[in-house]
Structures are given as structure tokens and as C-alpha cells.
């Protein structure tokens, strides 16, 4: 029982409540209080990662002890995988919240913005920490309902339309997930993820099992915007205010989509060959189609949003490749390498994609447009934005020594060692097209001659925005260190162990 675990959910929830109450009386209170809330979350999550090492810790909500080794209460689990996600959520959240201090001041109703922001953080932390299937659903709804409201925060035509599309598809996804939870409870009579795995290990009938897996894959695939389910993502992510775009693209689709898919398919289901092939196929498709849809875009934030789909394809592809190897029982080291590469890319993508969205927001803040054709020559007038977005662009296209290079390299090496030559080739090709499309972004936004209709000289953005972008670009470089053997063994290796070692996740929960 670690008393720190529930505080990760309670602090932002209480923060949202306080902001709504006190924000009415003190106008500047919500701004700085949100950053303070996120800062305390960063401290707690990094303290946990230092303190617990490779162990998993458990918090039983309400103190309900298991009866006959059957868990009856709600469990919150902080293991090597969820602790990484919690660190990403709080760190990117802190940067986005600090960035919002100047960015959001042009909107009305600031305290609503910060309250919804804290609610979204609470929901995501809850999803990541929960060890219970229905609890995942509840927290997921908390975070996505606040993100529906945040996407529509501008209340103009485009924002509302995007939010409507997002809500209809998100609602459909929620019903599919709820149906799947119902089916699982019907067959297994339990909702605890580790306990369900025990029941499935004892035996299952295949049609039911496949049906539930497909339902869950569709539901969480819709939340994660894997390619056949991606229609809402470019609209929602480009219409939201920029700090929210960076949260949605950088963290939300990972925490409520990719994380849950990986967690459920490794720790709840017994890995089957068919599903592993399907997941790999979906990943390869999103990687390829996403990048082709991205390269033709002239709206800066839409371009970035399509790249999110493509980069998530890398993560799903390499995790799926690891699943295929595990299901065939051949070369577990390569499988571990593939999964580690996928998760590493997930961490890296959170950092550089949120940085790119913040840079896009900085450009929009000064120019009032997202159209690449109307920009130009900003390198001289906005040096900090130019430098940080250059680092992020090189990082996402996989140029050494930035973090994107190392994770893509690991994914490609793993694919070659596993003899999936076609996948390795696809990963390289997509990486090259990504580079091309980000060179286009750099050329049209920061170099070339300034567009004619710019009103007066353009200045650099205010300090809070610059500060957030600079910190994230330093992280882009620093995360490369994760590839060093010493650091890798403390962060990525235990994480892969939790996913691949069948007994490790359940042993802590079913004691």
C-alpha cells in the first residue's frame, strides 16, 4: 500500500474544484495554481520512479482485502509501465499549463479552461493507474468528456464542428468498450485485469474471445485514432487551442488509447497469433497512410495531427511485431527489443509532438494564421520558436543525435532481427517521407521571404511560451540518454518485463 498513488488522481481533481470556486474571486489564481498542481504531480511521479525502482506497488481503494485470493475492491497499480506514463502526463501537462498562462489570456472564461485541464489530467492519471477494467472506463470518460469541451473551447464554427465529430465517434467508442466490459464480466465474473488473466489462462472459447478482443480493439482504436478509425483526429487536434492540441496529441491518445491497448493485450488476454498479426497490420497501415495524408496538408496543425497518426503507427507496429514473436515463442530477446523500441518511441513522440504543437501555437499567436503559405521568414523575427521547432522537426524525422532517431533505429533493428524485412523497409520509407514533410514546414514557415500581408514586424512570443518550448527541446536531446545501457536497464527493461513476463503483473495483485 503506497499512499502516494491516489494523490496522483486526487490532487488534480481537487485542483479543478478549487479553481472553479476561487477563480471567481481571484482573477489570476487559476493561472498559477494549475501550474502549481502540475508541478506537484511532476514531483510525486518522479519521486515514485526514483523510489520504487522495478517494483510494482498497489493501492487498494477503501482498504478492501482480497477474499480467497479473489480481489473484490478497486486496485490502483503503479508498475514500471504506468509510472513512465504518469511522468509523461505530468511533465507535458506542466509545460502546456505554463504555456497557457500567456496563450489562453486572449480567450474568455479562463477558469473554465484551467478546471477542465485539471480534470483531463486527473482522468488520464486514473486510466493509467487503474488495475480494474470498469474503473478504466470511468476515468477514460472523465478525460475524454473534458477534452470534448476543450476542443470546442474557441466556440467558433470549426471548433464546434470538430467537437461534434469527436463526440459522436468518441461516444461510439465508449459504447463498444462498455459492451466488451459487459461480455468480459459475463464470462469471467470479475473486473480485475490480473484476475481476468487467470480465468482466461484456465481456458476460453475462441469465438467469444476473438469477439471481445475485436470490440476492445475497435473501441480503444477509435480513441487512439489508428487508421480506419482516424476521421476525428485531424479536425479535433487542429481546432483545439494549441496547449490542448499538444496535450491531446502528445498524451491523451497515448494514455487512453495506446496504453490501454498494450496493457489489455499483454496483461489481460493470452496473446494469440491472429490478433498480433491484426495489430501489426493496423500499425503498418496507420504509419503509411498517415504520412501520405500529412504531406499534402497546408494547414500547419492538420499536418502535425496527421503525423501523430503516422508516428503512433510506429508504436503499434513494433509492439505488434513483439506480440507475433511472443505468440510464436521464438527469440524472446528480439521481442523484448521490439516492445522496448515501441514504448521508447511513445515516450519520445509525447515530447517532440507536444513541442511541435506548442511551436505551431506560437506562430499562430503572432501571425493569427495556420496556413503555411501565408508564413515565411520567421527565423529572424522568432529565433527561439525557430530553433525549438527545428529540433522537434529533426527529432520526429529521425535525425541523430535527437531522441526520435534512436527509437526508430531500435524499431528497425528489431524488425530486421525478427526477419520482418518488409516492415523495416516501410519504417525507413515513412521516416524519409516524414523528413520531407517537415523540411516543407521549416522552409515555408521560417525561411524564404516573408509573406506580404503580415501586419508590422513580428516579435518573439512571451516568456512562459518560450520557456515551455525550450524545456521540451532540451528533453528532446536528453531522452536520447535512455538508449544508454545503464539508463535503459532502470527504465525500459523492467517495463518490458512487466508486459512480457506473464506472472509478474498478476503476482503483485493476487497475493
Amino acid at each position: 500500500m503506497n499512499p502516494l498513488i491516489p494523490t496522483l488522481v486526487i490532487i488534480p481533481l481537487a485542483g479543478a474544484f478549487l479553481i472553479m470556486i476561487l477563480g471567481k474571486f481571484f482573477k489570476t489564481f487559476p493561472k498559477y495554481f494549475t501550474s502549481l498542481v502540475l508541478l506537484s504531480l511532476v514531483v510525486i511521479s518522479f519521486y515514485s520512479i526514483m523510489n520504487q525502482g522495478t517494483n510494482s506497488v498497489l493501492y487498494k481503494v477503501g482498504g478492501w482485502e482480497p477474499v480467497n485470493r479473489i480481489p473484490i475492491g478497486i486496485y490502483m497499480v503503479l508498475d514500471a509501465f504506468s509510472v513512465i506514463l504518469v511522468c509523461i502526463i505530468s511533465l507535458i501537462g506542466l509545460m502546456s499549463a505554463f504555456y497557457s498562462v500567456s496563450y489562453i489570456s486572449r480567450y474568455t472564461g479562463e477558469n473554465y479552461f484551467y478546471a477542465l485541464f485539471c480534470l483531463m489530467i486527473a482522468g488520464m492519471n486514473g486510466v493509467v493507474l487503474s488495475g480494474d477494467l470498469f474503473n478504466i472506463f470511468v476515468f477514460l470518460e472523465i478525460s475524454v468528456i473534458s477534452s470534448y469541451a476543450l476542443v470546442a473551447f474557441g466556440v467558433e464554427k470549426n471548433e464546434l464542428e470538430a467537437s461534434f465529430k469527436y463526440q459522436v465517434l468518441g461516444g461510439l467508442a465508449s459504447f463498444l468498450i462498455l459492451f466488451a466490459i459487459g461480455f468480459i464480466y459475463w464470462k469471467t465474473k470479475t473486473l480485475n485485469i490480473a484476475d481476468i488473466k487467470e480465468v482466461f489462462k484456465a481456458g476460453y472459447d475462441t469465438p467469444f474471445y476473438l469477439f471481445v478482443q475485436i470490440l476492445l480493439l475497435c473501441g480503444f482504436g477509435l480513441k487512439a485514432a489508428i487508421i480506419p478509425f482516424h476521421a476525428w483526429l485531424p479536425d479535433a487536434h487542429s481546432s483545439a487551442p494549441s496547449p490542448i492540441s499538444s496535450m491531446l496529441s502528445g498524451v491523451l491518445i497515448k494514455a487512453v488509447g495506446i496504453y490501454v491497448i498494450i496493457r489489455l493485450f499483454f496483461n489481460m488476454f493470452v496473446i494469440s497469433k491472429e490478433m498480433a498479426v491484426l495489430i501489426t497490420l493496423l500499425g503498418a497501415m496507420s504509419m503509411l497512410i498517415g504520412v501520405f495524408l500529412a504531406i499534402g496538408q497546408w494547414d500547419l496543425k492538420r499536418l502535425l495531427a496527421y503525423h501523430s497518426i503516422s508516428q503512433m503507427g510506429y508504436v503499434i507496429l513494433s509492439v505488434g511485431a513483439g506480440m507475433i514473436l511472443l505468440s510464436e515463442n521464438r527469440s524472446p530477446e528480439v521481442a523484448a527489443l521490439a516492445i522496448a523500441g515501441g514504448i521508447f518511441h511513445l515516450i519520445n513522440h509525447a515530447v517532440f509532438k507536444s513541442l511541435l504543437f506548442l511551436s505551431a501555437g506560437a506562430i499562430e499567436y503572432r501571425l493569427g494564421t495556420r496556413d503555411l503559405k501565408k508564413m515565411g521568414g520567421l527565423a529572424g523575427s522568432m529565433p527561439a520558436t525557430s530553433a525549438t521547432s527545428f529540433i522537434a522537426s529533426m527529432s520526429i524525422s529521425g535525425i541523430p543525435p535527437f531522441n526520435g532517431f534512436f527509437s526508430k533505429l531500435i524499431i528497425i533493428i528489431a524488425a530486421i532481427q525478427a526477419k520482418f524485412y518488409l516492415l523495416a523497409l516501410l519504417a525507413v520509407v515513412v521516416s524519409i517521407i516524414t523528413l520531407a514533410s517537415f523540411l516543407k514546414f521549416q522552409k515555408y514557415a521560417f525561411y524564404g521571404k516573408p509573406a506580404n500581408d503580415l501586419r508590422g514586424p513580428v516579435k518573439e512570443v512571451p516568456f512562459p511560451m518560450v520557456f515551455s518550448m525550450v524545456v521540451l527541446s532540451i528533453l528532446c536531446l536528453a531522452l536520447s540518454l535512455l538508449v544508454l545501457p545503464g539508463v535503459r536497464d532502470t527504465v525500459l527493461t523492467p517495463l518490458v518485463g512487466i508486459l512480457t513476463d506473464a506472472g509478474l503483473y498478476s503476482s503483485t495483485q493476487l497475493e
Partner: protein, 112 residues
Amino acid sequence: MITYLMCFILFLVGLYGLITQRNLIKIAISMSIMEFSTFLFFALIGYKEGGVAPIVNPAEPDQVYVDPLPQALVLTAIVIGLATTAMLMAVIIRLYRKYKTFDIREINNLRG
């Protein structure tokens, strides 16, 4: 068995409405129908033939009780459903103020 089938048909009715309707309000209603078919499904899972409410009576040890957990889950899910529906309706009202129409074919600023 027939009740499960009816529940599934209700889900399909909602899905059909979601796909074919062009009016924003009717889309929201279709979503609610789907939502309630899911709730009905949960209630059906917990039902046992001849079961009573799960208040244990020591005098009758052979009594069959219905499973209370799905009912608790449904209550939670209904509250969440209320929030989603309210959010959807709020956005529909705002959309109507901007576009002066409920027709989804005329609300098409975002493409590609």
C-alpha cells in the same frame, strides 16, 4: 435468449440512426438509444431466473440472488451517459446558433 436479441436489435437501431440521420438532434437521440441498449445488456447479465434483490436472509439459505455488481456499474454508466448527452446537446445548440441549421450536410467547414 430473446431479450438478449432484442437488446442487440436496439443497439443496431441506434447505429442505423447514427449512420443515416442528417439532423443533429436525431443523431444525439440515436446515440442515446445505443447507450441504453448497452445499459439493458448490463442489467441482463446480472439477472438470474427467480432471483431476488441481494439482501441476505439467514432464514432462507437456498434463496437465489441476482448479481448486484452490474447494477452498480449501470448506475455509474448512466451518470456518465448523462454527462456525454448534456455535452453533445450543448455543442448542438452552439452549432445551431452559428449555422442556423440542424442539417449535418450544411455543416462542413472541415475537410481532408
